[in-house]
Amino acid sequence: MVPLVILVALPFNGLNGFLLDLLYFTFTYAAMSVGWNIIGGYTGYISLANLGFFGLGSYVAGLMLTHLGWPILLTSPLVGLLCALVAAAVGWVALRTRGPSFVIVTLAFTFIVQFLALNLKDITGGSAGLYLPLLSLDPLLRGDLFYYYMLGVLVLSIAVAIGIRRSRFGLGLIAIREDEGKAEGSGINTSLFKIVAFMISAWFAAVAGAVHAQYLNYIDPDLAFELIIMLNMIVMTLLGSRGTVWGPVLGAFLLFPLQSYLVYWLPSTIAGEVHLALLGVVLVLVARFMPNGLLVTAQELISRRPPPRLETVAVASGEPAQGRVRRNG
């Protein structure tokens, strides 16, 4: 609660434009990472499609604005919903079976969406991109607006994550990750659960994409599908701790400002490439040496017991389920 109050109050203390921007990006990444975590962390299915939904959300929102005049900041939930429906279709193809077909399909999906954005020139403007009408807004307020909007989306994502974790749905997702066959044999409709988890993660990615399109007032196939976005979502979640509510948030708040700072020191001609390579190295290192992530590793160190139980359903008496080993009688 306290951090939220601080974040809400911050802009009123004359936060400068640069920091407002930085936090806007951080909120965006955090919300997308929390979303990715639902399918990648809780359910254990690595999705490479969220980048595709980010870009798809950008384009759908942008086209709605240019063709129908509907303001993006109002339509973003709807755009998210449309992309979630696409996710349902994609999920239906890939999630009825187990195994690696999901990664493959999600990778193909992102590639296909980018390909369409590039080649359906009549609709999307191709590589020239799509220019969006500017918001008729005082530039000083503009920064505040995007700041609060994505803060709101982030808060929503965290609320959804908490809700999932406490529900039977969340327990089911974790069961699927732990032992999918056993979960299915326990009566969990694994295909349905996986598809729903995928749809939720797609919603957040699409909303972020839509809002970002308005933020830039411009969409193009390179920016909308920049790999660094996907990589960041995954590294932030993994570093923070997969399968926890706050892990992805922690990862985003740590990594994004750090990256923004470090990128300054890179030679500008190859900054983007080196950035990508370094982030790749970070991913390999985190996967190899700290796969549980910061949050979980910290918990382990503090309490010095065997790996902590999963963050799962709150028991009926309302106590949080984590970290308690009670012995009855």
């Binding site: 299915e184 139980r309 009926a316």
Partner: protein, 259 residues
């Protein structure tokens, strides 16, 4: 006939009980024919044992019944409904629960969480809104007490001993209030005392109306317990009947000794 109420398990009334009918099931993998024209019945409210030499297809039959395999030919009937090809979770919703040959529990979850995973209800509300409802925790506690695991309720399931995990698997399966229980080699790896306890649990549950189909290697365990025995050999049923009849059947003796 006084049925002892096992707390946490509601008795199954006659009207709800249904029989299982396996009819002419074929199942092959690559070139290997695991089941050929397999046909047998599991009578409602009775304990049926499925035995046979190694490789006779018992677990394959199990998997076909519980939805993990789809029969190449033939059908599996639950009462008068054809359930072959249904997904395992859909079959569980018909109140048919199973355990696995190699015990499977969610090791990184607590015992309580393991108990709560099995789903009785379908429906959006049940999926999204409910946490662990009050009476579910009660039922879990009672079932855990039934199998003697209550004191471990908050421990990681992975810290339980092998035998305890088997009992947890059984108790968790009961949470879905099955009217048919499929047990795959339930006595495997248990010491004689535990096996007796297990037999006791099965009898108690059967007295409440739960139908059992048990795959087993342990002849003593199975012959004492079963009302009906089905013998599988090379994927087909070679004998079915009461334990005493089957034991004396020369075809059965040959199948076992011939191996």
């Amino acid at each position: 006939m006084a049925n002892q109420l096992v707390e946490g398990v509601t008795p199954i009334d006659e009207a709800t009980s249904r029989s299982l009918h396996v009819r002419g099931v074929d199942k092959s993998f690559g070139g290997v024919r695991a089941l050929q024209g397999c046909t047998f019945d599991v009578t409602a409210r009775k304990i049926t044992a499925l035995i046979g030499p190694n490789g006779s297809g018992k677990t394959t039959a199990f998997n076909c019944i519980s939805g993990f395999y789809v029969p190449d030919k033939g059908s599996v009937m639950l009462g008068d409904r054809n359930i072959s090809g249904w997904t395992p979770s859909r079959i569980v919703h018909q109140r048919v629960a199973r355990t696995f040959q190699i015990t499977r529990v969610f090791k990184r979850m607590s015992v309580l969480e393991n108990m709560v995973v099995p789903v009785r209800r379908t429906g959006l509300k049940a999926m999204f809104w409910d946490g662990i409802q009050g009476n579910e925790r009660d039922r879990a506690e009672k079932l855990l007490e039934f199998v003697g695991l209550l004191r471990f309720i908050d421990d990681h399931a992975g810290t339980l001993s092998f035998g305890q995990q088997k009992l947890l698997e059984l108790a968790a399966a009961l949470m879905a209030e099955p009217q048919i229980m499929l047990l795959d080699e339930p006595s495997g790896g248990l010491n004689p005392i535990m096996i007796d306890r297990l037999a006791g649990y099965i009898r108690e549950l059967n007295a409440l109306g739960v139908t059992f189909l048990i795959v087993e290697h342990n002849m003593g365990f199975v012959m004492r317990l079963a009302d009906d025995v089905v013998v599988l050999h090379h994927g087909s049923v070679i004998s079915q009947g009461r334990p005493a009849e089957v034991r004396a059947d020369p075809a059965v003796l040959e199948a076992y000794l011939g191996n």
